[in-house]
Symmetry: C2
Subunit: 202 residues, 2 copies
């Protein structure tokens, strides 16, 4: 029934107040949605709680979004970006993979809420065909982008498989490892991440 203490306005001082209030409350709402999704999961996130978290009521939500789905989708669309690990040009594959491993492990810790939200949204997608298709299409673009980005840092000749496959495998492995670390951090310390990714270098 809504925390009373932590009802802080999220988008308090982000820059100058500027003209478009609209955008600011939209952003605050989306941010709050992200928090709630991260805690409760995509399905059980309630608008009541989202609104309270942003210091407003549901009225504000329906003034800015058509439906619950639209708000939650807006969050996913806004905050869901692939990691960009700090790769080093010219370094050997194994080292690049170590960097990716560390970035993944770190992301699992620092952005748990977002990641849990993303994960739970994926489950949602799995049971909503239209959303699933949209998401699958989006992923294809992301893969392409990552392929391009990676091509600048690693030599395809060093890879144990075609670059396209490699990207997809990295994605699956990252997701799987993060997921398991959420469930039980003790069983998936950094060392496991590093071993896993390094093993992909022939």
């Amino acid at each position: 029934m809504a925390r009373t203490a932590s009802q802080t306005k999220l988008a308090s001082a982000k820059g100058r107040p500027k003209g478009d209030k609209r955008e600011r409350t939209r952003a605050a709402l989306i941010e709050a949605a992200g928090q709630v999704i991260g805690e409760k999961g995509f399905e059980r996130a309630s608008l009541e709680e989202v609104a309270a978290r942003a210091g407003m009521t549901r009225g504000a939500i329906y003034g800015n979004f058509k439906s619950k789905e639209e708000l939650l989708l807006a969050f996913v669309g806004t905050h869901w970006r692939p990691l960009a690990p700090p790769l080093k040009k010219g370094a050997p594959l194994k080292e690049q993979l170590r960097i990716i491993a560390r970035a993944t492990a770190q992301a699992a810790d620092e952005r748990r809420a977002i990641a849990v939200g993303a994960l739970s949204f994926q489950i949602y997608a799995l049971t909503h065909e239209a959303v699933q298709r949209e998401m699958a299409a989006g992923n294809v673009h992301i893969y392409r982008a990552i392929e391009k980005a990676l091509a600048e840092f690693i030599d395809p000749a060093e890879l144990p498989m075609p670059l396209g496959r490699f990207v997809r495998v990295l994605h699956a492995l990252s997701d799987g490892l993060m997921f398991q670390r959420f469930l039980d951090p003790d069983q998936f310390p950094d060392a496991v991440f590093i071993s896993a990714f390094e093993a992909l270098a022939p």
Copy 2:
């Protein structure tokens, strides 16, 4: 609001009718729960639909289970077993990994419902501390069992990391790959699974 057509009694002819009806309806209910969870996800699975699917009403459920949670948990407890790929004694690591890859890909296709159910349950666990702890503890046992089983088929000296880590990595990778294949089968054909697992052999 319940399909009227496909309301088939699931536990129709499984053996001789035998004395304990109790057990049979329990099983039928659990089975139906599995179906619904697989389609709707753990959170949105409704008792109404589960009961209808088993050709009964909610009355039967509450006569056999304390609550919704208990029924769903019963499903997870009953049907959630790790894969047992048909490994070959004495074969080189790479070949064993190929076998695991194929088994995983096949499982993704054949047991989609169960897997989606399991996945969505994991999300549920992530947002329910007690369940999460229980599940984490269970996983530790499973890891131990798999370690033992694997030790009979593969030579630790061939591994790129300690056996314990390797098992955990296999788990994370399988989960991640299956998840992605659910989302977009085209992007994760068998070949990707095979490349991914094979790459783990030094």
